[in-house]
């Protein structure tokens, strides 16, 4: 039994960290965040060259065929750099949904261009009720057409096609389709833009039933938790650095136990989130009986930890932490958006309760 990363996993994580540090330093991240879509074609081409756009997908669709643990590592490093733009929406979310629900022919048509870096995509799930439970979806396709509205759709403005979760299946809509209207929502996280997507007799092609959708959403939730871990690590690192150099009362503030103990808690929360995320990646990859539970554990813990680590980080930065120029608030904004996306801690605790209390054959009872 070995819970550590393999040499090739360490290598992937390391090179991803270097790649993001080089291609998406703070200044570039801030430049993109100020644009309308946070998308940059040149950066996208580089992500493609790295093989990141096809990381977990089969080679027959132009993917790299790596596992879910590798995806977690990549997302952790993307999170550390606060990578702006549609990478999560396209590769992790739309890619996983296509992979889970689409036919081989549809995968060739839609997943392959994603892997090749030629297309961006997203998935429209939430409606006015803003429920992350797919059972609450009301939108229904009729005669190959959609009429209705989806909210909080990430990166829709730069998507070449939009996957739509409807009551009667998962559909795909071309960005140029008639009756499709995309308008920006103004939200806290400036690096991942949200949109209202409206359909009016918009042609939509059925990809498949929603049966396998939960697994794709689990991959997305775990990947977001991984991204949160990267953000926490960055917040912890910059906070500890600040605590070592900032002096008050003639001493570095990191010498005071009230500061030191908060840093220790940030470390504990970051490491514990990381353990949970890596396990979730492993469980998804191996399809273990506790895979769904482990995703909820990771998303639940990282959702809360992302917020509390951010709280402590800003608090320790003092007045500096409250300024626009310090990056710590940008991570704090992302953490809040990601906390909620794909279910917050309360949502996932209820799901854990269903899996552990109501059906006591998984998780604890399994061992």
């Amino acid at each position: 039994m070995q819970f550590g990363l393999s040499e090739s996993q360490e290598f992937l994580k390391d090179s991803a960290r270097k790649f993001f540090a080089g291609e998406c330093p703070s200044a570039e991240m801030r430049r993109l965040m100020e644009t309308d879509t946070a998308y940059d074609a040149a950066l996208w081409a580089k992500l493609t060259d790295q093989g990141y756009t096809g990381i977990i997908f089969a080679e027959e669709y132009g993917g790299v065929g790596l596992g879910k643990v590798e995806l977690m590592l990549l997302m952790e490093e993307a999170g550390r750099a606060l990578l702006p733009g549609p990478f999560f929406s396209t590769v992790v979310l739309a890619g996983s949904v296509l992979d889970a629900v689409a036919s081989p022919a549809h995968k060739k048509k839609y997943l392959a261009p994603i892997c090749r870096g030629e297309a961006r995509a997203t998935v429209a799930i939430l409606e006015a009720g803003a429920s992350w439970n797919p059972r609450d979806v009301q939108l229904t396709a009729a005669n190959g057409k959609l009429t209705g509205e989806k909210l909080f759709v990430s990166d829709a403005a730069v998507a070449n096609f939009i996957l739509v979760v409807a009551k009667n299946g998962v559909f795909i809509v071309d960005a140029r389709a008639p009756g499709l209207k995309i308008s920006p929502m103004s939200a806290m996280d400036l690096t991942r833009k949200l949109y209202v997507v409206e359909f009016k007799d918009t042609p939509a092609e059925l990809l498949g039933p929603t049966t396998n959708l939960p697994r794709a959403l689990d991959i997305a939730a775990a990947a977001l938790a991984a991204e949160l871990v990267g953000g926490m690590q960055r917040t912890l690192d910059t906070t500890v650095e600040y605590a070592k150099t900032r002096k008050q009362f003639g001493k570095p503030i990191g010498m005071f136990q009230s500061v030191q103990h908060q840093c220790a808690d940030m470390y504990l929360e970051t490491e514990s989130s990381r353990s949970a995320v890596y396990y979730a990646g492993y469980a998804l990859e191996e399809n273990t009986p506790d895979a769904a539970t482990s995703v909820s554990i990771a998303k639940m813990y990282a959702s809360d930890a992302g917020r509390t680590v951010g709280n402590r980080g800003i608090q320790i930065h003092g007045g500096m932490g409250f300024t626009w120029e310090n990056d710590v608030h940008l991570y704090y904004r992302r953490a809040k958006a990601s906390e909620n996306a794909f279910g917050d801690a309360t949502f996932h605790r209820e799901r854990i309760a269903q899996l552990v209390i109501d059906t006591p054959t998984t998780a604890h009872a399994a061992r």
Partner: protein, 395 residues
């Protein structure tokens, strides 16, 4: 990353399982409620049996009677012991902490003299570290040992000594140089508890029982050959002992916690709240789910730490997060038990209305000590701040 058992791990597990199938006692349930004084001979006999099967100290090197078990195998060992609900071993400090320290720091003569009897539970060991004025600041301890020819004369007082009442020998940390800086003047001694001048008193704790003792030393004579490690190097010897303390805890706790949460879930199904089972109450569900998830995360953290230690060879200061995690989690777990049980939660063992023989009231009080014993949460956070994150020392 591969969480499947290796061939060696599987064969270790199978060998242990088949040994336990024939050797694990079936009557432990009749003994476990009794006071430790009464069940102690039973626990000694159980340890002797384990030793005969070479299972008493699996982590020890083979040449000293162990199996050189990896951390993963050790963790499998505790998992199996918990699975068959095996009794604890009588000499747990000797096996877990002091034996490994003697193996690491002791002379050949000391190893020959002490190791076999630790394994067979012929000699029970206790540990004399904390003092009334030296708890978290262990290096400030005052019990002194003065060299007098070929022996030391020891005077002072120790506190929070587990197994003091039954201890034959004690790993005692004393001050041998009062002029040196406080970490530098300490020495570890192996002290015969039957020596004249040793007095053991029970220390009654807030649970009402006496797990610990106070030890008093008045002109106790200890031969120089019983110095463990080097003279004035006692701090490093003590730290190596404490490292074992922090390392071995987690694997065993995991299983205790799993039993707690399973029982709490059962209780939630049968406890009525507002006209329905508590297991259907959204708030109770949230709390049980949170705890259940944290128990799993404790396991993930543990597995990651094991893999890291296996790769680097040393348990690092990161172990402090485990201590903080389990101790605080255990307290939250007991608070949920109290919420579920309501008025019944307060009932003590022996009360005819008590649920689960009163273990929940006991556990609620006992876990209050968890964030204090084996290094307070404050000290653990200092360790993380300074040794892991590199922040300047606060003291």
């Amino acid at each position: 990353m591969d969480l499947k058992l290796t061939a060696e791990e599987t064969s270790f597990q199978e060998e242990l399982r088949s040994w336990l199938a024939t050797n694990a006692p079936k009557d432990w349930a009749d003994w476990r409620e009794k006071p430790l004084e009464e069940s102690y001979p039973y626990l000694r006999a159980w340890q002797r049996k384990l030793h005969e099967g070479r299972w008493a100290a699996v982590s020890w090197p083979k040449e000293y009677g162990g199996r050189s078990a990896t951390l993963m195998q050790q963790s499998l060992f505790w998992e199996e012991m918990a699975r068959v609900e095996a009794p604890p071993m009588a000499n747990s400090l000797g096996l877990g902490l002091i034996g490994p320290t003697i193996i690491a720091c002791g002379t050949e003569a000391q190893k020959k003299r002490f190791i076999p009897k630790i394994l067979s539970a012929e000699e029970i060991w206790c540990q004399g570290f904390s003092e009334p004025n030296a708890g978290s600041d262990l290096a400030g301890l005052q019990t002194e040992a003065k060299l007098d020819g070929d022996r030391y004369i020891v005077n002072g007082q120790k506190v929070w000594t587990s197994y003091g009442w039954v201890g034959d020998w004690c790993e005692l940390v004393v001050r041998t140089d009062s002029t040196a800086a406080k970490h530098k003047g300490l020495t570890a001694l192996l002290v015969d508890m039957k020596s004249p001048g040793v007095e053991v008193r029970p220390l009654r704790q807030m649970t009402g029982e006496s797990e610990f003792n106070e030890l008093f030393f008045r002109d106790v004579k200890v031969p120089v050959e019983n110095v463990l490690g080097k003279v004035n190097d006692g701090w490093n010897v003590a730290m190596s002992t404490l490292m074992y303390e922090r390392g071995s805890y987690g694997a065993r706790l995991q299983l205790t916690f799993n039993r707690y949460i399973s029982r709490l879930i059962e209780l939630a199904r049968t406890t009525m709240r507002n006209g329905r089972p508590a297991s259907e109450d959204p708030l109770i569900r949230q709390k049980l789910a949170q705890c259940s998830a944290e128990i799993e995360i404790m396991r993930f953290n543990q597995m990651r730490a094991f893999s890291r230690i296996t790769a680097t060879g040393v348990p690092g200061p990161e172990g402090s997060i485990q201590k903080i995690f389990w101790s605080e989690l255990n307290q939250r777990l007991q608070q949920i038990a109290q919420e579920l049980l309501g008025s019944y939660g307060q009932l003590l063992a022996g009360d005819p209305h008590a649920i689960d023989k009163g273990i929940w009231s006991y556990a609620y009080l006992r876990t209050r000590g968890n964030t204090i014993e084996a290094g307070t949460s404050e000290v653990q956070r200092n360790i993380i701040g300074h040794f892991v994150l590199g922040l300047p020392r606060s003291y």
